[in-house]
Amino acid sequence: MKGKDHAALADEFNKDEPRVNWHDETLWWVRQKRDKAAHKVPEWEELREMASRIKDNVLSNLSEYLQQFEAAATANGITIHWAADAAEHNAIVLSILRRHEVDKMVKSKSMLTEECHLNEFLLAQGIDVVDTDLGERVVQLAGEPPSHIVLPCIHKKKEEIGEIFHEHLGTPKGNADPQFLTHAARLHLREKFLTRRVALTGVNFAVAETGEFVVCTNEGNADMGAHLADVHIASMGIEKIIPLRKHLGVFLRLLTRSATGQPITTYSSHFKKPRPGQEMHVVFVDNGRSTHLGRTDFRSSLKCIRCAACFNTCPVYRRSGGHSYHTAVAGPIGSILAPNLDREKYADLPFASTLCGSCSNVCPVKIDIHEQLYKWRQVIVQGGTAPFAKKAAMKTMNWVLSNPSVYHGAGKAGRWFMLNAPFTVNNGLNPWYKQRDMPGVPKESFGEWYKKNKK
């Protein structure tokens, strides 16, 4: 793989320990809010089970539901586009902009457009895109990708946001008052909402039965964009479909409680047909999803509703930061999705976990995330993307552990060295020893003790 891997990037993140503590505690607080909210719903675990089954059904009948949605939405006056990959998606969006002779656009939160690198693409085509989600706007001004799919600028402290706003929006230097900064952002974004003729939104749920789609935001920015624009483009991964409108009663209850601990997002907006004079487009994006669907061990990761509960609970994510995952969707779920897109580039991510299993337990659609991390490790190693040194070490380990006499000799020799020549392990070459002492060395192993005392 090119560039630094998760371990190296996490190592950098950990150079500033107070910042790691702050990041960890901030996200742990979100996890606790999730726990409290979930505790208030007596049927929480049943809801998870139901959501999981609905999504299983969706994945097994995906093409039918997509066509059903297409028929219903088309009848409602929505134009449907099918994009096989990121490039097609970006080209479709560009063609709509070109047709309307527009070179400016507002966009609410859409991780799919991050996955497709839409902003960079449009920028290169001379199109100005303004992200209207506050957190996304902050990272956009900072020239960074989001570090979290629900809380895009969670890695930034308010003082840093004050600096960014001072530089880009002309707020007074040193002012880091959240209310003041939010007000400044509101004024800045209001002008964009009023002057942009095209708005792009994401899609949280698309209802096959009715051809409507639901967009969830806390800031109402998707609505501001879509209601004021002549053209509304909604980009969605094909897995976002749900069969019936009543299923929203399951998913909307789970989504925000899992994400932030709120009972529901401030705005859960249903878009069903364009208002008179408006154009509405939905772009279905595959971008590897069909291939993923064919992988029995990994397909259930497509059930994800992007709540980020697995991020917030992940002890590794909280202490390594979203950017260490070097992919649009970070965290545990990102680590099982990304290798589907590029196995070599993301070969490190399934290893960025202790397999503690907390992610699978918080997942509102019950994806067996940690088990898929384990399975991806096998696939990556078998595919030849494991470094050679590790391979050689593993082969040696297997030889030792498969041969009791070799094992007992090696164990004895190892303990002899640790007792008589501790520098052979207590040195800078041993990553265990860098910040941890080695265990004490007993004079005999359990096996040796047993032989003497029990046999």
């Binding site: 371990a7 590794v316 202790t354 299993g357 593993m394 030889w399 007993p442 192993s445 003790w449």
Partner: protein, 264 residues
């Protein structure tokens, strides 16, 4: 009942006293315990690193050593979970072909131990005491403040205790046993079941995060006044012990078997 004692490799080499405590307790409760001398390792370090396909030798050896027993007991939740989930018998490592996982690991060739009954009769030490021997009281005393570390594979994998993520009634098998110990004072933690960051080869491959996680776990125990940290997995305790020693802390780690077998 004949119990085969499986002592994980690192316990055998570094913590023989844990093996001894486990053995003595099992004998106290009337088990006929045998330690097959040719045992080595469950193969987890390789499998968790993505080399499950190289663990055939380990698997075959494990089956050879333990197939004959009524029960197999081991003082490690992590190793037991690995055997339960990934031990497969002769020539059935066929499910991994480097084909991008296009074949199911749940399908043929991976019945969680085809050709062997071991996954069904292997128990982690704590659950063997609570679920099989149904221990309701024991003669032990340990007059100290003790923090329980819920090792993830034991807790979330073997369900030794309720998990904080789930909205379900609480229980804890290790706590149930520890409460039978005279003089013990169990402390509460701020984060009751967060991972310590050991994670097998993760502890060296992701050294920075692993250590930070360990430091934070240790700090929670120290903050709440623990004199000892205990748990059902020595690997997590070894990792936290390494951090405690480096910090020159007087707080020590003890495997739960040592406390349950202790007369202080």
């Amino acid at each position: 009942m004949r119990v085969g004692l499986f002592i994980p490799c690192y316990v055998d080499q570094f913590y023989p006293q844990v093996g001894i405590a486990t053995l003595e307790l099992l004998e106290k409760f009337g088990c006929e315990v045998v330690y097959p001398p040719n045992q080595t390792c469950c193969g987890q370090p390789m499998a968790n690193s993505g080399f499950e396909h190289l663990t055939k030798g380990c698997n075959d050896l494990f089956i050879k050593n333990f197939e004959e027993f009524d029960y197999i007991v081991s003082p490690s939740g992590s190793c037991v979970l690995h055997i339960k989930e990934h031990l497969h018998g002769e020539g059935v490592a066929a499910h991994l072909h480097g084909d991008g996982g296009d074949r199911s690991t749940k399908g043929e060739g991976h019945s969680g131990g085809r050709g062997t009954t071991i996954p069904r009769k292997i128990y982690e030490f704590v659950e063997f005491l609570t679920d099989v021997l149904k221990v309701e009281n024991l003669e032990a005393s340990f007059p100290y403040r003790v923090g329980i570390h819920q090792s993830c594979h034991g807790q979330r994998g073997l369900k030794l205790a309720q998990m904080s993520e789930l909205m379900a009634p609480g229980f804890s098998k290790p706590e149930k046993l520890l409460k039978m110990v005279k003089g013990i004072q169990l402390i509460n933690l701020i984060r009751g079941d967060e991972c310590c960051g050991f994670g097998g080869t993760f502890c060296v491959a992701e050294e920075a995060v692993s250590v930070k996680m360990g430091k934070d776990r240790v700090a929670d125990h120290l903050h709440n006044g623990a004199e000892y940290i205990t748990g059902a997995d020595m690997s997590c305790l070894m990792h936290m012990e390494g951090i405690l020693h480096r910090q020159k802390s007087t707080v020590q780690v003890r495997h739960i078997a040592e406390i349950l077998n202790s007369q202080l």
